[in-house]
């Protein structure tokens, strides 16, 4: 098929509603609002639940902070609380980026630029999220046994040996998966930005 034939095919294609435009602004607005609410709920609800869990865990560590009797445990406690507060903020930030102001009548290139920049920022935030989640996993492992059973696992040399080996393997696979998952998105966004800058 030649390019001219492509043009013919494009021109021949007609929509079922062509020449039958029915615009009912009230109906359009209602349908749009309903869809928007549904979409928002689908995105925001898990965010809220996740944030609530993080805050509850931070509160739990805060209330039992007195039980942490060594500098290492106290350090892990402070770090855990900070991470539990930071992770929901990052998550909300990346979600907010997706619903940020849309300027529908600007030029297509401007929209693409904003779109590609957002994609790059989103992937960076996701990578940061993975790294911080891993750090939280380690600090929580140290804290949990002490806070729930009163045992200080950090005094056990085998704990460090096994947890770090397992943690390292986990991090290796998990970060590779994240890298693969977002590689195409990031690559496409960067290529698009390069082309728009040319």
């Amino acid at each position: 098929m030649e390019l001219n034939e492509l043009k013919n095919t494009w021109n021949k294609a007609k929509s079922p509603g062509q020449n039958q435009l029915n615009v009912n602004p009230e109906l359009m607005k209602r349908m749009h609002d309903q869809k928007y609410q549904l979409k928002l709920r689908r995105i925001i609800l898990p965010e809220i639940v996740g944030s609530f869990v993080c805050l509850a865990a931070a509160g739990f560590i805060g209330f039992r902070f007195g039980k942490l009797d060594t500098a290492l445990l106290q350090g892990a406690g402070v770090l855990s609380i900070l991470l539990l507060l930071l992770l929901p903020v990052i998550s909300f930030k990346s979600t907010r980026q997706l619903s940020n102001g849309n300027h529908v009548d600007q030029s297509y290139a401007e929209t693409l630029k904003a779109f590609a920049h957002q994609r790059v920022r989103f992937v960076r935030l996701q990578k940061l999220n993975v790294l911080l989640s891993y750090l939280l996993l380690v600090t929580m492992l140290v804290l949990l046994s002490k806070l729930s059973g009163g045992k200080d696992l950090s005094a056990n040399k085998y704990f460090w040996l096994y947890s770090f080996t397992a943690g390292y393997v986990f991090l290796l696979f998990y970060s590779n998966w994240v890298k693969k998952y977002y590689r195409k998105t990031l690559q496409q966004a960067e290529e698009l930005l390069q082309e728009l800058a040319a």
């Binding site: 095919t9 079922p16 359009m28 529908v104 297509y108």
Partner: protein
């Protein structure tokens, strides 16, 4: 003339264009219908702020293509698929299979392009001049020429590979 009447008068005749743009950016019939609805809604919403700086046509294309991009942003996971869109082709029955196959081929070729090229090629297929394409996309006229010749090459290659 109230807002609705002026709006209908402004976009009358562009329904097919909106539908085709949505078909190229959306994934499947349901997604396409959602996108058509969203484009119409955003056109109606932004009609108040449309200040005649550009032509109605330029405004319609810009809004339609920008909304399509925002639609991509909202769809978290998008697996590109190509379905034969029976609603889109209204040819006589004997020609239908051939036309549907051509439409599928055309859609596949456009889908393989990046978002910038996709926008430019849609406008080329809509018979827009280089000046109009430059205004809608927001790049220089000479850039449109350079990009279009590259896109045509890419499309030719893809068509040769697919046939």
């Amino acid at each position: 003339m109230d807002k609705n009447e002026s709006f209908i008068a402004a976009i009358k005749g562009s329904e097919g264009t909106i539908f085709k743009i949505a078909s190229v950016y959306a994934d499947g019939a349901e997604d396409r219908n959602d996108l058509v609805q969203e484009i119409n809604y955003q056109l109606w919403r932004s009609f108040d702020t449309f200040n005649q700086k550009s032509s109605v046509n330029t405004w319609i294309y810009r809004v339609a293509m920008n909304v399509a991009i925002y639609h991509l942003k909202a769809a978290k996971k998008r697996v590109p698929t190509v379905s034969i869109d029976d609603q889109l082709m209204h040819s006589r029955e004997t020609e239908q299979d051939e036309e549907a196959a051509r439409w599928t081929l055309l859609k596949q070729s456009i889908e393989a392009l990046n978002l910038l090229d996709k926008g430019i090629v849609i406008l080329y297929l809509e018979d827009k001049s280089y000046e109009e394409i430059a205004e809608i996309v927001g790049i220089s006229v000479s850039n449109v020429g350079t990009k279009l010749s590259r896109i045509k090459e890419k499309l030719k290659q893809q068509l040769n590979n697919q046939l």
